[in-house]
Subunit: 190 residues, 2 copies
């Protein structure tokens, strides 16, 4: 008897090191695939279309949204982000676990669906560490950083709705915690 | 702010390899201590008093039972087993996680207490593997083996009341699953 996959939903304030962690997590475990989001925001340095995100035009995004093609979609910093429904459903049905790295808005929308889903929040060790990480990301302007910090504070209020919290203090230990959550959830009684 | 420890309760049909797994688990993680049970059954080959069990006389056991000194106690195969309450409470209060390796009867009694507790069931890969393991344990007579097998079948009916199931197929992978459950539960939102 083949089990359905589990949907792991990871959120974090931007600058928490979420992307690095998610990439390492997917590479360190078999049976776990990353869902690739569609977005209308321009690619950052080094980001590849089809690997990091599927980059599309706003018009195209809104068309797909109307056709109900997204598991969830959200507008963040004026740009659209969405999770293509068909791909995720296909993976879960095959018994593959799926990792969704999305913001709290999106995460809360998925909570209303019926799939077995596990919610993980990644936290930086402190707000000052968060500011520092954002400062070192050369792509963001000062104004952008201030905006992201203020949004991060709001996002923290969603923390109690998540199942797990992982503090990204030391990368290796945060990664071990994430791996453990995936492995443990696979052992969980239905 | 110091958190209280978590109580991990592990049960398994005898012959599932539980003892080996529990020993390895406790050695592979910091902050996890094993609770040592008291029993009236005679020590098996290699078992040490105060490490594997605290071996006491029936009269002494019943006296302590009357004084309400056990977190749970049970009579299995005509012998008494009990978990000393004071030691476990002391560890949990210090923030130490505690591993209790007890049979399903005992596990269900603890369910009625208020401590945060996590229930794990270890399964052999199959009933035939279970029989084989019991056959190779030279301490058990044929009659004893038959009795244990029949009890194992009954114990399986408690499976749905546990939080996790770990199949002890390959020792290393069963150990990784157990470790992951402990680590994940430490990340769990309260």
């Amino acid at each position: 008897m083949k089990r359905n996959g589990i949907l792991f939903i990871i959120s974090a304030p931007s600058g928490s090191g979420k992307t690095t962690l998610c990439n390492k997590l997917v590479h360190s475990l078999t049976g776990l695939s990353r869902s690739i989001s569609m977005t209308t925001r321009p690619p950052r340095n080094g980001e590849r279309d089809g690997t990091d995100y599927i980059f599309i035009e706003k018009e195209e995004f809104i068309k797909r949204q109307k056709k109900n093609e997204f598991l969830e979609s959200a507008k963040v910093f004026g740009e659209y982000y969405g999770t293509p429904k068909r791909y995720v459903k296909h993976l879960l049905k095959k018994g593959q676990d799926v990792l969704l790295s999305i913001d709290v808005q999106g995460a809360m929308k998925i909570k209303k669906l019926k799939a077995k889903s596990v919610y993980i929040f990644i936290l930086p060790q402190s707000m000052s560490q968060l500011r520092e990480r954002l400062m070192h990301r050369s792509t963001d302007s000062k104004k952008e950083i201030a905006k992201r910090l203020s949004i991060a504070k709001k996002e923290l209020s969603y923390l109690p709705r998540y199942d797990y919290v992982v503090i990204n203090n030391i990368l290796e230990s945060a990664l071990e915690n994430l791996r453990s959550i995936v492995i443990a959830e696979r052992c969980r009684m239905l």
